[in-house]
């Protein structure tokens, strides 16, 4: 099981390294989408500081959901997904490896880009740290749930929009606690509770989502 996990993970990373521009698209989308907000709501520094955590989270959500749609699509098209599911090892390993690969390729670059965004929006250092910590705990949840959505909508005509519609409601708790932690820090309140809840959500999702994703892959490829 561990071999399959590592093999799929390394293969996905290698594939991504061969298509560098494709791999950069989510983080570019993230920054472009974020820089539209000041143009839309106006350049007042205080307002931008206030809305920064929320819109960073929403843009991270959208960047994850838009990129996760293609997670299994290539493998389905060339038939390797069926071969992976035929392997004697449980499909959970494939689901988990794909989710981790997606996080490494999308979630992590977003987190790396976040300090830059924080500067654009004039966030204070403690708030920025809270935002990054929240994203570290929260973006894996997005990748895990996104993989489930991608498995359910595999090969469907309107897959992209549909995936967003079915996964976004499930991600609201992560959004609430992630953005809430930053607001608490900015207001001088303790934010430990938010991080604990985000961590609990991450653990629960990490245990449950790969199982569901594996089942969804079986349903979709039957």
């Amino acid at each position: 099981m561990r071999d399959l996990f590592l093999a799929v993970l390394l293969r996905d990373l290698k594939l991504a390294s061969r298509r560098r521009i494709d791999s950069l698209l989510p983080v570019v989308f993230f920054i472009v989408a974020l820089s539209l907000f000041p143009l839309g709501v106006g350049p007042e520094p205080q307002m931008l500081r206030d809305i920064a955590p929320g819109i960073v989270w929403v843009c991270a959500l959208l960047a994850s959901m838009l990129s996760v749609g293609s997670l299994f699509a290539g493998d389905l098209a060339d038939g390797s997904l069926e071969q992976l599911l035929l392997a004697p090892q449980p499909a959970i390993a494939v689901a988990a490896a794909k989710s981790v690969a997606h996080w490494l390729l999308t979630g992590l670059p977003l987190i790396v880009a976040t300090p830059l965004v924080g500067l654009l929006f004039g966030m204070s250092m403690p708030a920025l740290l809270a935002l990054v910590a929240g994203l570290l705990l929260g973006t894996p949840i997005l990748s895990l749930l996104g993989a489930l959505g991608a498995a359910l909508t595999l090969g469907l005509r309107s897959g992209g929009m549909l995936l967003i519609l079915i996964v976004l409601p499930l991600t609201t708790p992560a959004l609430i606690f992630g953005a809430g932690a930053v607001s608490n820090v900015e207001a001088g309140l303790p934010a430990g509770g938010h991080f604990s809840l985000l961590g609990a959500l991450l653990l629960a999702t990490a245990l449950g989502a790969p199982v569901a994703t594996a089942a969804a892959l079986r349903i979709s490829t039957e």
């Binding site: 708790p173 607001s183 569901a212 969804a216 979709s220 039957e222």
Partner: protein, 251 residues
């Protein structure tokens, strides 16, 4: 032909379900009409005017039963979808599919009637209150389920994928509810408290209960009718459906 003995699974056969539900649906419609008439009469003419809210509170007789139904129907839908998936019971999956639009309708009705209630009492059509927000997310969950099962052409895959999504959603509903609740209390003091409402007059409670029975009857009537349509559609290859349609054509 002697009738088969009645067992627990007797009506899991689509053909027998079709017969039974065809017989039951008119009764459910009759119950719906009678209970709605009774509930609305008590609600609008017998129940006293509220001391603080005046007559505007009377939308409660639609609002609260609709909100109850919206939540119960999601659980029922997830339950039957799960049964259909786990035991490969065709009828359960059809019922689950038939429930979704009704559940979404009740969710929408709860939100819409809530807006009509909110305007005179809170002065706003919408507030980002925990209950309103989680009800809105419930509507999104229903829409996601409906969109997913309709996007998949293969019936079997659609039922199973829908079941998985409904089950994941039902696990998430409590998490969403509590996260929204904490979010709300953290962001703004509770501007509206619906739990601390003054004790209700017993006639109000009676009207509300009668209305929720009316909604139950309505849900049964509509869901059974819709299930019958799905049964006919999916069992079109079966002999009994062919017989049924032939009989219709001759009649």
């Amino acid at each position: 032909m002697n009738s088969p003995s009645l067992r627990l699974y007797t009506f899991a056969a689509p053909s027998r379900f079709y017969q039974l539900s065809g017989w039951l649906v008119p009764w459910f419609w009759a119950a719906t009409i009678l209970l709605t008439a009774a509930g609305l009469y008590i609600g609008f003419f017998v129940a006293p005017t509220d001391a603080t809210q005046g007559d505007s509170y009377r939308i409660i007789f639609l609002h609260v039963p609709a909100a109850w139904m919206s939540m119960v129907l999601y659980v029922v839908m997830a339950f039957w979808a799960g049964i259909g998936w786990a035991f490969n019971a065709r009828l359960s999956s059809m019922v689950a599919r038939a429930i979704a639009p009704t559940g979404a309708m009740f969710t929408f009705l709860a939100l819409w009637s809530g807006a009509f209630w909110g305007k005179p009492t809170w002065g706003a059509w919408w507030v980002w209150d925990a209950r309103l927000t989680s009800e809105l997310i419930l509507l999104f969950l229903y829409l996601g389920y409906i969109a997913l099962v309709n996007a998949i052409d293969d019936v079997r895959r659609a039922d199973q994928a829908g079941a998985l999504l409904a089950l994941v959603g039902s696990v998430n509903v409590p998490i969403i509810y509590f996260s929204v609740k904490w979010w709300n209390t953290l962001h703004q003091g509770a501007t509206v408290s619906m739990t601390a409402a003054p004790k209700m007059a017993s006639t109000m409670l009676t009207a509300m209960l009668i209305m929720s029975f009316a909604f139950w009857a309505y849900a049964f009537a509509v869901v059974f009718t819709r299930t019958r349509a799905i049964v006919i559609e999916r069992e079109a290859h079966a002999g009994w459906v062919a017989e049924l349609t032939r009989g219709r054509m001759q009649a």
